[in-house]
Amino acid sequence: MSAMSATSARGPLIDVRDLERTFDVRRRVEGRRRRVRDSVLAVHDLTFSIDAGEMVGYIGPNGAGKSTTIKMLTGILVPTGGQVRVAGLDPSRDRVELARRIGVVFGQRSTLWWDLPLRDSFELLQKMYRISRARYRDNLERFVDLLDLGDQLDTPVRQLSLGQRMRGDITAALLHDPEVLYLDEPTIGLDVVSKGRLREFLRALNDERGTTLVLTTHDLQDIEALCDRVIVIDHGTSVYDGSLTGLHAEGGSSRTLVVDLVDEAPPILVPGATVRRVDGPRQWLSFPADASAAPIVAAVAASYDVADLSIQEPDIEDVIRELYSRPEGRPPADQR
């Protein structure tokens, strides 16, 4: 892990400044013979940095610029403006060198050889990355054990289940001990058990090896289970960067106190909370996520006959939806 401490001494592992990427899009316009050329800003004014060992969720709606960012971080796309550094390298210029130090898993596409056993794909990767025999054997043994792939090593990939294949792809991305692992929708299409096992594995990887994880996902449970930090991107630029708890506050999210009264009653009146819904003896009171529930519970219990109480944590999906719909998060419509 000496390479890693060297990079952290020089600054963050991933450093993105004023990053921008435009795409030329040709568009048909009615009444014109030629198609009109438009320039679309896929990513703009994007700045963030990630330290070695962090686990970061990179989230946003479809078309927000998530994949475009990941492609610039891995050197697949050349930025049209701004700066990216990963492990001190310029990804698009030093792409091949950087490839040795990162791992990438595209959830919906496999790097494995469809008709051949997993083992064959792994052995080719060993040669491509020039992984020493001993290190390869150690890593393979470890990942196969952790990911429970032992019985599948000699099965052709086409006969594996989606979950097994995904675990195979993750092993393939980790054999060379990358410093950063980019995961694009790693749990898409997996069943609950497979998802849970995969998250457990990723957490252990980060704990034991200090591997930095950058995760793009639609599954917010992935984020809740794994990420201490969330970057939310919308319309090509970051609209939130911070802790998951902070995201709740930022999104103006609220917790809900569900009160079951002994008898039906008019809406409860207590300071600091408002009634959202009444259904017979049951009432839903919402209060700010960062406020304490204790005084509200006490106030309710003091004035009403309460049969039961429960608190619902805010739904992160609502929080993010709230963030997306904010007008100030968007670039001016005519920005080109």
Partner: protein, 270 residues
């Protein structure tokens, strides 16, 4: 880490290629049938020439063995290039399916990965057929040490010219993702033209195949030298020995286009 020389690259190429061969062997019947079919189809090409000569004494002053030399050398160069790097013409598909993105995250030069991908020995059919025709035509050549040297350099340079054309024209797909046919017009199309003595075409064709797309250097000029013939089109005699120059230039130009294509690459959504 120091930039590795060509030897490790060649090794990686062979490792990728051998994995693809093993994958193809999972379906041995299909593999054999395709290889035989490939050989038969390309073989028919030459049968066509044969039939033509059954009705003609010569073609613009060239006898059947002489035309066979032209045909064999061009086919052989094309077959070598096609076997080694033919996958490059599929780059549009790789772009659409996102496979290119995956290759770009591997620590091996992209061009090498693209060329080695889906390597198939099926193309050996064409290689075998071209070798047989070329070998037969060679028995009619009046060999001298210089001619042997020119023949060897012709095959190597011819391979380079086709490498360059395959790579160069495939790069068009970085800009418009579905242009395989456009590339084929120049590679396979060019190879078809050079199966005939170039003097049967209008002079403009010869000029174009000399200065624009240098396919005439693959076989026409060096074959004139091997046959000891004066150039019927009156081009400079030095051209007959200039194949290596054409090969290196085409290759260099193609690599430049490739690099620019990769930098222009815009990937696909998701």
């Amino acid at each position: 880490m120091a930039e590795p020389g060509p030897a490790p690259h060649l090794r990686t190429y062979l490792q990728i290629a051998s994995l693809w061969i093993r994958a193809a062997w999972q379906y041995p019947t299909s593999f054999v049938l395709l290889a035989v079919g490939n050989g038969l189809i390309t073989g028919l090409d030459f049968v066509g020439l044969w039939i033509m000569f059954a009705h003609l004494e010569d073609l613009d002053g060239f006898t059947l063995p002489e035309v066979a030399l032209l045909y064999g050398s061009a086919s052989l160069a094309l077959a070598v290039a096609d076997t080694a790097i033919g996958s490059v013409e599929r780059i549009g598909t790789y772009i659409r399916t996102g496979r290119l993105d995956q290759m770009m995250t591997k620590p091996v030069p992209l061009l090498l990965q693209v060329c080695a991908d889906q390597f198939t020995l099926r193309r050996l059919g064409r290689l075998t057929q071209a070798s047989i025709v070329f070998g037969w035509a060679c028995t009619y050549v009046d060999w001298t040490p210089t001619r042997v040297l020119v023949a060897v350099s012709m095959l190597v340079s011819g391979g380079l010219v086709f490498f360059g054309l395959f790579v160069g024209f495939s790069c068009v797909q970085f800009w418009t993702t579905d242009a395989t046919e456009f590339a084929n017009a120049f590679t396979y199309g060019g190879a078809t033209i050079t199966q005939y003595p170039l003097t049967i075409f209008p002079r403009e064709v010869l000029v174009g195949l000399t200065f624009v797309i240098p396919i005439a250097f693959v076989n026409w000029y060096p074959c004139l030298f091997l046959l000891g013939r004066a150039d019927p089109a009156g081009m400079p005699e030095a051209f007959q020995l200039a194949s290596p120059v054409a090969g290196v230039l085409t290759m260099a130009a193609a690599l430049l286009v490739w690099r620019s294509g990769v930098r222009h690459y815009t990937s696909t959504g998701s």
